[in-house]
Structures are given as structure tokens and as C-alpha cells.
Symmetry: D3
Subunit: 123 residues, 6 copies
């Protein structure tokens, strides 16, 4: 694995840092409902009748049709961690584009770009 160029912006790191910093603020707040929604989020994607990879792909397709770029990024990363291949991810996103229509395409472009950044980080 090659040493990465330290001056090059890393969209994966940037996204995760912002996400972690703001989530911490939200959770340090005294709003119980928000805390419990975050907690549920962790539970819903735990192993069950469906394995975690399948659940992450379900989260990915839901995020894509609802056109939430940050949610797509999050589930792309978790899907990769669960061993989802590029082809599986592309099939998932193709279903999203068919079901959700061509308005999903701009999100598909950004998803593809983020997947490439994840692959580069995996290096």
C-alpha cells in the first residue's frame, strides 16, 4: 500500500469527521428522542433474520431513493466493511435508480465518486 498524499483532500475522512463531531454535539444535548433514534439506528442494522450485509444494502437503497447523499455515503462505507462487492453495490443502486427515477442519477454520480474514494482509502 502506497503512502497517501497528505495534502490531497480525503472526502471519506472529511465526511466522517464532520459526522462524528456533530453527532457528538447532538447526543450531548439533553433531547432523549434524538438519542433514542440514534440508538435504534444501531440496533436496526444488527444481525437478525437478515445478515448485516443485506441490511446495509437495504439501508443503501432506501437512502438512494430518498436522495440523501450523506445517508448513501454512510451505507456505502458500511456495505464495503461488510464485504459487499462493487457489482452488488451497483445492482443495488440500479434498483434505486429504476424505482426512484432519473432524479436519482445525480446522487448515483456522487455515490460512485464516494465509492472510488472508499476504494482508494482501502488501497
Amino acid at each position: 500500500m502506497q503512502k497517501k498524499n497528505e495534502n490531497k483532500p480525503d472526502p471519506v475522512k472529511e465526511f466522517n469527521d464532520y459526522r462524528a463531531r456533530m453527532n457528538e454535539k447532538l447526543l450531548n444535548n439533553d433531547n432523549k428522542i434524538i438519542k433514542r433514534i440514534f440508538n435504534l439506528d444501531t440496533n436496526a442494522f444488527a444481525p437478525g433474520a437478515l445478515d448485516v450485509k443485506t441490511k446495509e444494502l437495504l439501508g443503501l437503497v432506501a437512502s438512494a431513493v430518498l436522495r440523501c447523499d450523506d445517508c448513501v455515503r454512510y451505507h456505502l462505507e458500511s456495505s464495503m466493511e461488510q464485504g459487499a462487492t462493487k457489482q452488488e453495490v451497483m445492482e443495488t443502486l440500479s434498483i434505486a435508480t429504476l424505482v426512484g427515477g432519473t432524479i436519482v442519477i445525480p446522487h448515483l454520480r456522487r455515490a460512485y465518486e464516494y465509492w472510488e474514494a472508499l476504494e482508494e482509502n482501502e488501497g
Copy 2:
């Protein structure tokens, strides 16, 4: 298997009959774009890197978060045909409800009711 009460309305048959009748009209029409979208729909859920059952569950979660009752009904039926268990379907719908929010709940009630009708038809 018991003989069904012929006077009892069957929501599965009613939905499929209406769907088939109107799809035929739409496809007999001379609009190529619509024909090709219908055709793509068949292709997108064919076996690939992901198996058909997983794809049907992807279609189900996408339909549920987009709150399309007819699409949910369609994918519930195809999921059952692919051997998806009630528990797998409920996990899929629970992810939909978490990602899409409590506005998904009325659709969850109707999905559950339709799943019961499918089970009854399976006998």
C-alpha cells in the same frame, strides 16, 4: 388446504386483476418509453451479483420508504414467492420505518394486512 369462501373478497386477486388489466392497456398503447420502463423493471429484478430474493427485499424497502402501497404489495408477493420469511420481511419493513419515519407506519399496517392475505392464499 381448506376450500376458500368464494364470497369473501380476496385483496390479492383484486389487486393482481386490476394491475394486469391496466398494465395490458398501458402496454397496448404506442408509447415506447412506458413499454421500455416496464421491460427494464423485469430485468432489474433478474438474478445477478445479488440473488432474486435480496433484490425483491431491496424493491420492498424502496417501495416502503417511498410510501407506494401498490409497489409494496407487488414486492411482498414476489418476496414470498422467492421464499422470504415473515421475519425477513418484517426486518426489511422495520428498516423502512426507521429510515423513512413514522409516516411509513400507515403503509406498514397495510403491508402487514396484505402479507396476511398472501399467507391465507398460500393456505
Copy 3:
């Protein structure tokens, strides 16, 4: 033109009657914002740089991608009144289905059914 079967339900009449009855109640209410939104609606579809038929097709495609059956019905009727042909309406709805995705299809089926009811009423 043949006399219509008086016992057969007429979805066009039923929709328009309900719509007229409830709109009257809403407008007799003292809420100025709602009154003014209704008023704007009339103005936005008046002739301008674009002719009324084009504007009705714009209203139709917007209603279809937003999956509002009643709005689709309303604009189908106005489009027909403005002389839009079935082919023009189908091209408009095919763009809606492509842009908005296959979740538009159930609305497309109902739109097609309503267009047939409008044609039958035209006699």
C-alpha cells in the same frame, strides 16, 4: 351520442362533486392564506408566455411525479378541455414515469383509467 347508463358510477362526476363540495367549505372558511392559494392556482394556469394547454401538461407532469392522484385527475380533465390528445398526455406521463421512477406506475394505471372515463363522458 348514446344515453349513459344512469346506474353506472361515473368517476369523473364523483371526483368533481366531492372536489367542488369540499372546496366550497374550505373557501367559506375564514382562512385567507388558503383562499389566496386557491386564487393563485387559477392565475398560474392562465394564458401567458406559454399557452394554457402547455401549462396544463406542466401541471400534469408535476402532479404525476409528486404522485398526487387527485391533482393528476384534475389536470387530465383540464388538458382534455384544452385539446390535448391522448398521445400528448401519454408522452407527458411517460416523462413523469422516467423522471419519477417506477413508483409512478400505480398512478399511471389510475391516470389511464381516469382518462378513459373522461373519453367516455366526452362520448
Copy 4:
């Protein structure tokens, strides 16, 4: 208060009966995520920095812009129980129609009709 016509369908009773019956089935199921989302729903509308009536109006406007008729019905009933007046409810729905656009109007008609049914039941 006059005795109600027992043969007349009561949309409030019908909605609440269906809702209660299906919610019970959903909660008797072993899906923890769904159970906890239902539980959160109760908690989010409990008194806090904002009083319950205000929270119900927040739930109403959110339901209306997301065009969820059943959610609108539920929050109309809870708003009435919390003492919200017709004028307050109409102002809430007028904001929904302005923010969410004229596609909210069909839902506004059904909301108005349901509010009238609630008033009749209040007798």
C-alpha cells in the same frame, strides 16, 4: 346531544378501529425495532419544553406536508383532544399548504372532512 344515527358510517370509529387492530398485530410481532418506534412516538408527543397541543400541531403540519392522510387524521384527533380550535388547526394546515404546495390541497379537503366528523362525534 342528539342520539346518532347508528346506521350512518362513522369515519372516526372506522379509522380508529382499523388502526388499533393492525397496531396490535404489529406489536404482537417479535420485531423490536417496530415496537420501539411505536414507543418513541408516544414519548415524542409528551409534555416538555413545548406543551402537548403545540406538539400535536407540529405533528399535524409534518403529516400534512408529507401528505400522509392517516397521520393527519391521527393528529387532528389528538389536537382536538388537546383543545386546539378549528381556527388554530386551519392556520396550521394553511402553513402546510403554503410550504408543501397545492399538491397538499387534496389532503386538506380530506382533513377538513375528517375534522367535521370529529366535531360531529364531539356533539
Copy 5:
């Protein structure tokens, strides 16, 4: 109150400047419908049966579930001007996240960040 660092970007000023500049262009245009929608927007949030603060929170929750960051920013600022506390705003946003689902979370992060910028500007 400390003097602000003049070189630090101010997201509140940046948002308001862009918004004001583009709104002026839109209103100087000869489109009456757009002018009247802008005008209605001012009227809908004027005092009525509901006070202005409640209306701003209604606008905030509607904006959040519809996932419109700029609309959220606008109503956060107006809510603060109407004396809404952070706790009231967080309860409003927690209802949005529950009703609209976890896809609201990225918007919640940005809303929280903007609220902090507003607090900093308040000094």
C-alpha cells in the same frame, strides 16, 4: 460581547446575503405568481389564532421533514428572533426526525451547526 474575528466566515451572513440578493432578482422579474407566493409567505407567518413563535416552529418542522436546509436555516433564525429556546427548537427537530425518519439526521446536523452560528452572532 467580544469583537468577532472579521476574517472568519459567517454562515449566517453568507446565507442571508445570498438569499436577499437572489430574492431581489426574482422579485424584480415580471412573474406575478412568484411575487404573490413570496407575499403569501409573509402573511402566513403573521400573528393569528396562533402566535408567531408557534408558527415559526410549524415552519421549522415542515422544512425539516421536507429536508430543505435553506428553509430550516430561515425558520431557525426567525424562531430565535421570536424567542424560541434551544430546547424548544430541539424538541421541534426531534419530532421532525421521528416523523420524517433517520434521513432527516444529516439535516439535523446542519441545523444544529447553524443554530450554533446564530447563537454566536447573538453574542
Copy 6:
């Protein structure tokens, strides 16, 4: 026509370059569904019963109510190429804002800004 300032960022060029680069990657991928959706997109906006300019305005209003900035940009450019005037485009966007509500306004601001950039490039 004046020579353009080469150091000034050109949002039209930037958008089109990114779009072209990512579309190429998506199409070089082996996912047939995505390829065919892209292909359909070209076909749906070809001349038919409706002329191309009208179809582009239909694509514009659909993109605007679905609040897809990139889709709006794309159809603004194609509409201009088809000879749509600013007034026609503004009428189309005013219908989008009325039908889709004030949450469309931030997208209207960005659409107006992009139209100005297109006009500037036209010189």
C-alpha cells in the same frame, strides 16, 4: 461578444465537466440497467407528439418540484438550446413553486442564478 475572464469560475462548465466525467464512469461500468436508463432518458426527450422544447419544460417542472438542482440545471440548459425564453422558463418555474410549495424557493434561487450563468455564456 467580450472575451471572458479566464480566472472567473464558470458554473456551467464546472457542472457539465463533472457530469460528463461521472456519466462516463457509470456507463463504462457493466451495469446494464443503468446504461438502459441513460438511454431511455435520451429517447424520452426526442421529438414526438410534443415538440422538444415542450418536453424540456416538462422535464424542468418535474425536476423543480422534485427539488433536484442538477436535473434543473440540465433542463435549463436544454430548454435554452431549444429556444425557450426567460419568460417561458419563469412561468414553468412559477408553476413548480405553486404546485411544489415554498420549499421549492431555494431551488428557484439557484435555478435563476444558473440561468444567468447560461445567458452569460451565450454572450
